[in-house]
């Protein structure tokens, strides 16, 4: 007999004792986090308990889970799991709750949904669903489907990760699917990792290993990044540090060098693109009298002109060459211009649609139905518009939508402040928006203003503390689901249920199914989980049962998949899905938007918080917040084994540290007008002077004065977005002070 769940959790967490090892049943599962890997796992289960997590490599798959995958047992059995439904008893946000039954909790949520709908209409309901679960069946899709069938709600548009890349991809190529399978990097003569750090961010299982093999094969790898990241340190032959938010200027100056030295692939430009001439005029200064020469960019970027010229020459002549434009530099003021500038440079060098090249953009390679929130598909038609600047091709129907980076403002100001609605109720699922969305302190104010908040959570997250009704969610090992690798890797994962749901936790789908019946919604969930999962399978997985048994399906490819290969090899029959049928260096669609900050060709537009801004006198350091290898956003942060791996700390160069009397390990306050956070320092040469870095997703844990003590980066970031939708989270000025 297995131990009762509570006892089991305690013994497992303490580690050494617990259930004796030995022969256990092995069950195929896979991570469900928002890191992109979705790596297959082999879970050892004995007497109803997970006793070990092994990688699937022992069975010959090439995908090896990272430390996060390996630490899943300590998340599953973490003593801080939410164990039963709760109702708020203290002030909102105070974190005081009392236990209630599921019936009480669900009745309460259903009655609040009804009340708000009847009193204010559906547009008073906002749904927060983020990347908390990448399963197709479980996670945010369950909530979207429920609220759609409840006649709709306000959805967020824009995502903090890569909205600039999405905007640029549609404007330039007419598609988000710009990625190649990773093995194609081995066909490159040069790889440029621009703000791209897959050693920590995974980007499909196997990406880092491919880069190591590329380097070992003698392929030159260059990294452009404010930090000497682990990817720079291990894969790159050269590191080019650059000031955050200035990448666009360097890319444009590279175009200047290429044009000046006549290194562009004119045949490619003539055959496959439109608008190069207009771009040339901007670059050469014909349009505005400012030639965008490397010397011009040097003053902006901090990168020597000769380095820029050298990189431009290498990229233009080392064909095929892969320029991979990571999303981090796009999370900046006018991040969409950075992505567009990288795209144009790839077109100028003819590195699109060929083996060994790369089409910088959103980088997804495999369209399929197994995707996060896939359950929401096939629901009734939706109404309204949301995107201010709609680019054809990207159309998720929705009721009115509000950009995620101004949702707190929208809640606080409502119609009186120019927003489309007055919000009253927040439904939060697979999301911790207080930590993940900008301007956390504004978020605190906003959440206090709402009439009702329901949160599905696994742990007492920052957002969960603000719930009126808090529902315990289960985790991927407690339910059945399928998922697809995020972007470029051709594999699919079947994650079998390993153990029963712990305590009183339920899946998001179970919760929403019970709510649907309370709300009188018919046909919300007429299928078993397995029937749903069978429906999601793409055609290239013929045998469901074999997929379930093996846990992973790898698509057999004769050669590496390359985006837009057809468009390049046979353009007559395969136009790009843009209005012109070509790669749009000049976009008439963007021109027609007639917005000064959405130029029809990519341009460098200086953001509000650069080193040049007057604010830099008060706040002289730029802060960036990148993904941390020992958690996924705010998920897994509380897992002890992962905490052992690396300290959550502020990276600061010795020059900046010395000027402030800071030694390695000192506690510091990082602050600007939006808030402050307390975090220990890591004094390192791995970051350029003038720039500091704190990994995103640190727990928001305010003290009595409202100063965060958990190192939550978003207390420092600003409300708002640039017109293409980019979240300017990496163009933020701060000061750092020793405590």
């Amino acid at each position: 007999m297995g131990l009762a769940p509570k006892e089991r959790a305690m013994t497992m967490d303490s580690g050494v004792e617990g259930i004796s090892k030995g022969k256990a049943e092995v069950i195929r599962a896979g991570c469900s986090y928002d890191c992109g890997g979705l790596c297959p796992l082999i879970v050892h289960v004995k007497d109803g308990s997970v006793i070990r997590v092994e990688g699937a490599a022992s069975e010959g798959t090439p995908y090896r889970a990272c430390l996060r995958g390996r630490a899943n047992r300590q998340r599953l059995y973490h003593p801080d799991r939410l164990k039963y439904p709760m109702r708020r008893v203290g002030e909102r946000g105070e974190g005081k709750f009392e236990r209630i039954s599921w019936d009480e909790a669900l009745d309460s949520v259903a009655s609040e949904l009804r009340r708000v709908k009847e009193t204010y209409g559906n547009s008073a309901i906002v749904f927060f669903g983020l990347g908390g679960s990448h399963g197709t069946l479980h996670g945010l899709g369950a909530g979207i489907r429920l609220l759609n069938m409840f006649d709709g709600c306000i959805h967020l548009w824009g995502n903090v990760s890569n909205q600039g890349a999405i905007f640029g991809s549609f404007a330039t190529y007419g598609s988000m699917l710009t990625g190649n399978t990773r093995d194609d990097l081995l066909n490159s003569h040069l790889i440029i990792m621009w703000g791209w750090n897959p050693a920590d961010t995974i980007w499909d299982s196997g990406t880092s290993f491919t880069l190591a093999k590329a380097k070992e094969a003698g392929i030159k790898v260059i990294c452009v990044d404010p930090r000497f990241t682990n990817s720079a340190a291990i894969f790159a032959n050269q590191w080019i540090p650059i000031k955050p938010g200035t990448d666009t200027a360097m890319l444009i100056a590279m175009a200047y060098t290429i044009i000046t030295e006549k290194l562009q692939d004119q045949e490619f430009l003539d055959n496959y693109t439109t608008g190069f001439e207009q771009y040339r005029e901007y670059v050469m200064g014909v349009e505005d009298g400012v030639p965008k020469a490397p010397r011009w960019a040097e003053a902006i970027t901090g990168v020597p002109a000769a380095t820029i010229e050298n990189l431009a020459r290498q990229y233009a002549t080392a064909k095929p060459a892969a320029l991979i434009a990571g999303w981090g530099p796009g999370r900046a003021d006018y991040g969409e211009q950075y992505h567009r500038a990288a795209m144009v440079l790839a077109a100028m060098t003819g590195n699109i649609g060929i083996h060994g090249g790369n089409t910088p953009g959103w980088e997804g390679a495999f369209p399929n139905y197994m995707t996060m929130g896939g359950l929401a598909r096939g629901t009734r038609g939706l109404i309204g518009t949301g995107r201010k600047y709609r680019v054809p091709g990207y159309h998720i129907g929705s009721t009115t939508r509000i950009h995620c980076c101004e949702i707190w403002d929208a809640i606080l100001k409502g119609k009186a402040g120019g927003y489309p609605t007055d919000l009253k109720l927040a439904y939060v699922m697979a999301a911790n928006p207080l930590s993940s969305l900008p301007n956390t302190n504004r978020g605190v104010e906003a959440l206090k203003k709402l009439e009702f908040i329901v949160v599905h959570e696994v742990f007492m997250s920052a957002t969960a503390r603000f719930a009126d009704i808090l529902l315990p969610a289960n985790t991927f090992m407690e339910r059945e689901d399928v998922s697809a690798a995020w972007l470029g890797a051709p594999y699919f994962v079947y994650s079998n249920k390993c153990v029963d749901s712990l305590y009183e936790s339920k899946s998001d789908l179970e919760v929403c199914t019970e709510l649907a019946s309370r709300l009188g919604i018919e046909h919300y969930n007429d299928k078993t989980d397995e029937e749903w999962l069978r429906e999601f399978l793409p055609g290239n997985i013929p045998d469901f049962d074999e997929f379930k048994r093996k846990g992973v399906h790898t698509v057999d490819l004769d050669e590496p998949f390359v985006a837009f290969k057809k468009q390049i090899e046979d353009p007559e029959n395969n136009p790009f899905p843009t209005p012109s049928g070509k790669i749009e260096i000049y976009s008439k669609l963007l021109a027609d938007m007639n917005h000064p900050e959405i130029p029809p060709v990519p341009k460098y537009i200086e953001g509000g918080e650069s080193h040049n801004s007057p604010l830099a006198k008060k706040y002289p350091l730029q802060i960036i917040s990148s993904h941390f290898r020992r958690r996924v956003h705010s998920q897994l942060d509380n897992v002890g084994w992962l905490k052992d791996a690396e300290r959550h700390a502020l990276w600061i160069n010795s020059i900046d540290a010395q000027a402030r009397g800071i030694n390695d390990g000192d506690q510091v306050r990082v602050f600007n007008d939006r808030g402050g956070t307390i975090v220990p320092c890591w004094v390192t040469e791995r970051i350029m002077p003038g720039v500091v870095h704190v990994p995103e997703g640190g727990p928001f844990d305010p003290d009595e004065d409202g100063i965060d003590t958990g190192g939550c980066a978003n207390v420092l970031t600003a409300t708002g977005y640039t017109p293409g939708g980019a979240f300017p989270g990496n163009t933020v000025l701060v000061q750092v002070q020793k405590l």
Binding site: E54, A65, S208, F209, A233, I234, P241, T307, G640, M688
Partner: protein
Amino acid sequence: MQMGFYFDQTRCTGCFTCSVACKDWHDIPAGQTNWLRVMEIEKGKFPNVFVAYLVTGCWHCANPACVTACPVGAISKRQEDGVVVVDQEICLGKDNCDMCLQACSYEAPQFGTEQNAKMQKCNFCIDRLAEGKYPICVEACPMRALDAGPLDQLMSKYGQSRDAEGFVHSAELDPSVVFNPKLALAPYGGFL
């Protein structure tokens, strides 16, 4: 026969997957006990920076100092494969003795936080070895930077380098490990 490890320092991204996999497999609680440690080595000044990682477990030395240092004979070297193992029943515990830790050049002996914690350390996953499986760290490494097997076979496959950044080879102990080293050669890179 002597089992040993191979570590490709040029591939290691310092991701700690080996270390976490080790803790999961052997049920080591989070905290100070680390059978497998990952050290970051940073050299140089911005922008000429060098970074490498060094993984250190127990190198199951040919002449293990811990075995001779242990006053009660709790540590032994297995005849069949040269794996160095500890018998916790015999170990005096850290409140009474830390001679093995004093003797080891690689901090392989580890202790928990409990009262009079007994010594524990990398045991080359002898349970997996018995089933013909690699140690869990080797199986886990996403970079395939680790390998394990008979030391002579590792040497013929990977060469005999006993050198790695951050590693000090002890001729006296003769640790059972070979490397593909990533050595810091100044200036380390940076612009152009």
